[in-house]
């Protein structure tokens, strides 16, 4: 399949050039051009904790789309589907670090963990004040008793947003790590895939799926999942996913769940709004109110077909940070949307 690039050698940098020139909130780093940093509303890094993440490209808008006020201070952009190297992440830390310290978010995938942790070690050699936070939420990748082995999935966006707002409000580094761990412990995600993405490097599908079946819990590169279902009305699929999520991490009747419906790149908004509606109904059927939704394609793998549902049972404080306005190229406005707020 033909994709619309100039060349494999330049595709990532061509994209970054376009991205930073399209949006006023971002620019290339001064130490390393493979780092995208905030271009405005930057606070003094001796006073505000700075926060960044590194990731392979090919999954846009995450995470460069979330650089901006109330969110990330920087994103370290790796090659296509490849974790950025430790020295590159170190450059990202240097771009934003000040006396208030820096939090490196790490979505749990092996290359990201090794390189991210190595970057923190190298930053410590330079006596920079840095901490890391491992993020994981994909219930298909390990059972509840080994939740610390789970992969990072779109539920990690709760952490970006809530910590971003908290850092902006002045929370210090250790407080941010504790808040991030608390959000992580209250977040679960599960995906359903129907078709693979096409690799920009090979022009070929990244894995094969039989027609007519839906794969629950499959990783974005085709990692094996939790099960399969025949195609049918999406409501039934959503109920299955919501029930698995609540089984994994129950929410008491009368409780609330903030929701992320994430499209993988090849699933339309027409479908995603339907999926949100079904999610809200499936939660209501279990006595849980679905609130403050984020609906759209944010963590993508090219034109991969499918979606994930992420649930966070928030504290009032988490919910306030989640709904706090932010200003980045791609993070949407989140409305509380409770029954009380609507009536």
């Amino acid at each position: 399949m033909t994709k619309l690039f100039n060349s494999q050698e330049t595709m990532v940098d061509d994209m970054i050039d376009g991205f930073v020139s399209a949006f006023p909130q971002v620019e290339r780093g001064k130490i390393d051009p493979r780092v995208v940093v905030r271009s405005r509303a930057r606070k003094n890094p001796d006073e505000k904790v700075t926060m960044l993440i590194g990731n392979g490209s090919g999954h846009e808008p995450i995470a460069m789309g979330f650089v901006g006020e109330g969110l990330l201070d920087a994103n370290v952009v790796g090659d296509v589907f490849a974790a950025p190297s430790a020295d590159l992440i170190l450059d990202g830390i240097r771009e934003v670090n000040g006396a208030a310290g820096t939090l490196l978010l790490i979505s749990q995938h092996s290359g990201d963990v090794i390189n991210g942790r190595a970057a923190i070690m190298l930053a410590e050699d330079e006596e920079l004040n840095v901490r890391g936070l491992l993020m994981y939420d994909d219930v298909a990748s390990a059972p509840p008793e080994r939740r610390q082995d789970r992969r990072g999935a779109p539920g990690t966006m709760f952490i970006y947003k809530i910590l971003g707002a908290a850092a902006e409000a002045g929370l210090e580094l250790n407080g941010l790590v504790a808040l991030g761990e608390a959000v992580r412990d209250r977040t679960v995600s599960l995906s359903a895939a129907i078709s693979p993405g096409i690799s920009p490097l090979t022009g070929k599908p990244m894995f094969k799926l039989p027609e007519g079946e839906i794969f629950i819990g499959m990783g974005v590169h085709g990692e094996p999942g939790a099960g399969r279902m025949p195609h049918g009305p999406v409501g039934k699929l959503v109920r299955t996913i919501v029930d698995k999520l609540l089984e994994d991490r129950p929410i008491a009747e009368g409780g609330r769940a903030a929701v992320i419906i994430n499209g993988m790149g090849g699933t339309t908004l027409m479908e995603l709004y339907t999926i949100w509606n079904e999610t809200s109904k499936a939660l209501a059927a279990q006595g849980v109110e679905a609130i403050a939704p984020m609906v759209g394609s944010f963590v993508t793998t090219q034109e991969m077909g499918g979606f994930s549902i992420s649930l966070l049972e928030p504290t009032d404080q988490m919910l306030a940070y989640w709904c706090e306005p932010s200003d980045s190229p791609a993070f949407p406005a989140i409305s509380l949307l409770t029954q009380e707020a609507k009536s």
Binding site: A82, S85, A86, D87, L88, L90, I114, A118
Partner: protein, 182 residues
């Protein structure tokens, strides 16, 4: 050219000469690209400014192997640039590699050459460290792989010398060669 830059230039030549051998060792255990990966990283390291060689290696070689070998190269480069104490720099790299890679001696990895070398370094004797690395490297032939892709290969790579351990030995041999040329 600084002594650190000379080191990377010599190392590039040494790995280039043995790339096919390293790829073949890796083919018995994994994806068969260890020599190619090392060569890609060292090509950039040899072109880098003085003091930036190991980081250039990390960036160009990519993946976990680039990071883990990069930590050893950072130790050697710091020693060559700023006269940092080599045994303690290498001990730090060893501890970090074991932590990051979740690997320990006997798993059939680069650590099986690095750990004995660090232990034999007492008093900074590079010859003793190289000899220990050589023996550790040979001892990997009889080991079963317990980490990485090789653990899933039929026979767990037994009978094949570990390519990562082999590269560690080369790193130390080239360091001696660089010192002797001064």
């Amino acid at each position: 050219m600084t002594v650190a830059q000379q080191y990377f230039t010599r190392l590039l030549a040494a790995i280039e000469a043995r790339k096919d051998e390293l790829d073949a060792l890796d083919a018995a255990l994994g994806d068969g690209d260890h020599g190619t990966t090392m060569l890609r990283g060292l090509t950039k390291a040899a072109q880098a400014e003085s003091g930036m060689g190991a980081k250039a290696f990390m960036r160009a070689s990519g993946g976990a192997a680039g990071t883990l070998f990069g930590l050893v190269l950072i130790a050697i480069e710091r020693h060559l640039i700023s006269d940092a104490d080599l045994p303690s720099e290498l001990a730090l790299a060893e501890a970090r590699i074991c932590d990051l890679g979740q690997v320990k001696p006997g798993d059939k990895s680069m650590i099986d050459a690095l750990s004995p070398a660090v232990a034999a370094f007492n008093g900074g004797n590079l010859d003793a460290a190289i000899e220990a690395a050589r023996q550790g490297c040979q001892a990997t032939i009889a080991l079963d792989a317990r980490r990485g892709r090789a653990q899933y290969v039929e026979g767990k790579g037994r009978g094949h010398q570990d390519p990562g351990a082999t590269s560690i030995l080369i790193l130390f041999e080239v360091l001696r060669e660089t010192r002797e040329s001064q």
